[in-house]
Every structure is written in structure tokens, then in C-alpha cells.
Amino acid sequence: MVKMVDIKKELGSSQTVMLVMPGTEYNETVVDTMKQLSGNICYVTANKTFDSLKELFVKNKVDVANVVFIDAISKSLKKVPDQGEGVYYVSSPGALTELALVVDKFLKHEFDYLVFDSVTNLVTYQKVDMCAKFLTSLVEKTKKTKTKAVFYAIGSVKKDPIIDKVAMYVDKVVESGGKVEVKSGVKGGSI
């Protein structure tokens, strides 16, 4: 059984956390994280479709009544409107400007939490440098609000360039399994 991260505790002391996990622990970690977070959540997915996430959450009894999804996947796969009940669709995970505009709009609504799923999936659709620019800008924008953010990353620290780049900006990097890297709080610095 996977040892789960106490994400609520982590977010209690750090506004932005990157949660790094192996692919095999993804489903379990995502479900557990959502069960821990209470309040209004904005869930950005560049990984699973909204329907697929909904299926996963319903199956695992995760309450998604207070969750608004931004789905960057479904529009490329099937015909969907710009928005549905509890979901806003973005044309593609590679459309970073469009994604940034939509997320900005949602950040203005002062959600309690922003969940970004995932940092590593984004690089499947765009160059690492472009993704890093988008993600670091998102971290900085989040820090100007009261919203706390969790950035999922599938892989491992020091092996994925995108994880390394984003790690320099988030307040804390937590590796599933217990390893924790605490940041100094200074942009670009670490202890």
C-alpha cells in the first residue's frame, strides 16, 4: 500500500506544493489528495479527460460538488461545448496562452485550492521551456492570491527537467513515499 502524503498539512505551511509521484501511484494519490481537500477547488487537467476523472472520483466516493474542472484534453478527442456542468473545456494542453487565460479567470474567483494535473503531462504537448514559463508564471500568479496550489508531477526529482525547473519556484516539493524538499521561500533558492 502506498504511503500517502498529508497534503492538507503540507499546504498549511506552504502555499504552493509540487507533489511528485511514480505513475503507478497516480490514481491512488489523486483520489487521496481530493479526499483531503475541502472547500472550493479548481482542478486543471492536462492528463485525464473530465469524464475519466469523474469516473475515478465517483468510483472512489470523492465529493466533487465543489470542484470546477478545466479540461484541456477532451476537445481534442471529441466534440464538446466550451463549457458544461462544472467543467470548462480548453482546446488543447498545448494551447498554453488559452489555458493561462482561463486559469487566470478562475483564480480571480478565489478558490481555496488549485490542483494542476500534471506538470509532466504538459511537456507531452509543448516544449519544456514553454511549459516551464507557463508553470512558473502560474505559480507566481497563485502566490498573489489566497488560493493554495498542488502541482502533480509524474516521475522523479532530478530526472525530469520540467520537475527540476518548477521545483525552483514552488514553496515545497514532496515526493510520494516521504521525501520532502523544503524551499527557502526565496524565488529560485533552496535549502
Binding site: N47, K48, T49, D51, S52, K54, E55, I73, S74, S76, L77, K78, K79, S92, P93, G94, N121, T124, Y125
Partner: protein, 117 residues
Amino acid sequence: MAKKILVVDDEEDIRTTVKAVLDKEGYEVKLAINGDDALKKWSSFKPDLILMDIMMPGTPVREIIPKMKGAKVAYLSVVRTSEAEKEDLMKSKNVVDFIQKPFDIKTLTTKVKKLVG
């Protein structure tokens, strides 16, 4: 005569790796970088099977597939879909399989062998 396979993926690493694996298995392999490129190459190459990434830049794959009348397509997908979505994607007569990325060489070769012999 070797069976022909068209590998369509916007990621160069995937294209070259899949080609190397299938070349070794004795298939004749051609590559395309997206759906539009695949459409151009399909009519002249006439592949027995198309291995196509489900999400690529350019014209959406769901608009490309119906234009390839009679083609046999297996999707390659890094995206996780719901069961209902998968069923929906497989509804098209052309689509014969759905291969989840990442896949191992054995899974790929077994599936390809099953689909084209």
C-alpha cells in the same frame, strides 16, 4: 510480401522507436508526423495498419480517420479516457484497437501481429 504499417506520432522518439521495433519484426514501416501528413501518405502507401497517436497538432484525429476509408487504425494514447469515451472512440469502423502509452515492446508487437498477422 511484408505487411505495411504507417506510424503516426508527433513525437520523434516514439516514431523512431516504434519503427525500429517493427522493422526488426519484418514489417515495412513508413512514418508520418501528424494526421494531415498521414492522410497524404496513406493513399500511396496503402498500409495494412495505421498506428496513430490520438492527440497531435494539426487537424484533429477524429476528423482524419473518416477520410481514410477502409483503413485499419489502432490508436496510441497517452491520454487516459473514461470507459465510455474509449467505447465511443472505438465506434468508428476504422478503429480496431486502443493501445495505452506507455507500452512495452512485447505488447506492441503482439497487438500488431494480432491485427495484421
